[in-house]
């Protein structure tokens, strides 16, 4: 059956409608998980709050395992969905920059908007900084254009690169994620014991 638009079940005009609905759901869930508080987000780095890790790991493993079942039941053809091209080195650097931004600013781009939505000033300033950063990046783009497009591996998946079936990755990642849930819970408990100035 799926993907709906490439298979012509609905037209491409629905893109914006679906994007809007998913955006609303995403924002709602970010706020509901407590992502609009930069304390919760940076907690990962200090070891007192792993909600970011738990929420995103849950999203990843549910989506991953779910998609494999969808493919099996014939509801979604996984060979037809769009895969972002991989630029290995630029992506590694981008990840480092993103992580730095995370710990320094206390938000990731999406969560800063949920913070604005509930009236947080730090979220507002983060978002303003975001646009200044995008502006600077666009102006400086010609300087690192070559690096930006380097190391293009195309639309590859881990299965394409390693030859190991996707279900093994899904299973392995699920084990890692589930182990991480329980380990982080223990870490959280130990770290929180020593906290006196902040109540959970």
């Amino acid at each position: 059956m799926g993907p709906l638009i490439p298979n012509g079940i609905i037209t491409g005009d629905w893109n914006f409608v679906i994007a809007l609905l998913i955006g609303i759901a995403f924002g709602f869930l970010l706020e509901a998980s407590g992502f609009s508080s930069s304390r919760n987000i940076t907690g990962v780095f200090y070891g007192y709050n792993f909600v970011v890790l738990r929420v995103f790991f849950t999203a990843v493993i549910v989506a991953m395992v779910g998609l494999l079942y969808f493919d099996y039941f014939g509801w979604l053809d996984l060979s037809k969905i769009f895969i972002l091209p991989t630029f290995l080195k630029p992506m590694l650097l981008g990840g480092v920059i993103m992580g730095l931004g995370f710990i320094i600013g206390g938000f990731c781009p999406g969560t800063s908007y949920t913070a604005i939505a509930i009236g947080k000033l730090d979220g507002l300033f983060f978002a303003i900084g975001l646009f200044i950063g995008i502006y600077i990046f666009s102006l400086a783009f010609p300087w690192f254009k070559d690096f930006y497009y380097s190391d293009n591996m195309g639309h590859v998946t881990l299965t394409d690169v390693t030859g190991i079936p996707a279900s093994w990755f899904a299973f392995g990642f699920t084990i890692i994620a589930l182990a991480a849930f329980w380990i982080t819970m223990i870490i959280e408990k130990r770290v929180r014991k020593n906290f006196t100035e902040y109540k959970f």
Binding site: V62, L68, Y69, Y72, S167, F171, T174, I175, L178
Partner: protein
């Protein structure tokens, strides 16, 4: 520990474990368009009605005739040994199990050969090999095998040979009697040596 967490952890673990047992049928890679176009213009993808007839008569085990017409038409008339696979069941499991068998030549037939041609392209795109189309389809089969025309005078010797074969094939497929020509009907005159008669009477 929260009991919900334990339950959800076990559920997720079971679901992830389940993905390992999902057997995905290996999908054949689709034939790239350039290859497909090249294959479409090859005349070797056609087989003549004579070739098909010869293979049927010789009971060639590598021949597999696929009738792509509707089941109704198929029930009315088809070639001996043909299998009915309408175009819409081509990609289903029962339809596709006839293709891609090593050493088997699949010959598509339809009424005029156009539908068979289309199905040929579809099956080729699905990545199967050893596919052929009977040129002219069953209409041409009727013209050549069932009601062969006698070649006129001045036609090459091969035409007569072909005609002879087609007459034989017609006999094989319809059970009709060979039309005998006048020449063969002519009475055989047996000439016998006249017995020498004993001279009677004198001079």
């Amino acid at each position: 520990m929260n009991r919900n967490y334990i339950f959800l952890t076990l559920l997720m673990l079971a679901l992830a474990l389940g993905t390992l047992f999902i057997k995905k049928k290996p999908t054949k890679p689709e034939t790239p368009p350039e290859t497909l176009l090249w294959e479409i213009i090859q005349p070797t993808r056609y087989v003549s009605t004579d070739q098909v007839a010869r293979m049927i008569i010789q009971k060639d085990p590598s021949l597999e005739i696929i009738d792509v017409r509707s089941p109704k038409e198929f029930s009315q008339f088809t070639l001996p040994g043909a299998i009915n696979v309408p175009p819409d069941s081509l990609i289903t499991e029962t339809g596709s199990e006839y293709f891609g068998i090593p050493g088997i030549k699949v010959v598509f037939i339809s009424n005029d050969g156009i539908l068979a041609d289309r199905v040929w392209v579809l099956a080729k795109r699905l990545g199967y090999n050893d596919l052929y189309v009977m040129k002219g389809g069953l209409n041409r089969w009727m013209e050549t095998i069932i009601q062969p025309k006698e070649p006129g005078e001045g036609e090459p010797y091969t035409a007569f040979e072909e005609y002879e074969f087609r007459q034989g094939a017609r006999l094989y497929f319809t059970g009709a009697k060979v039309k005998t020509t006048k020449a063969t009907k002519a009475k055989v005159i047996v000439r016998r040596k006249k017995k020498a008669t004993v001279a009677s009477g004198g001079c």
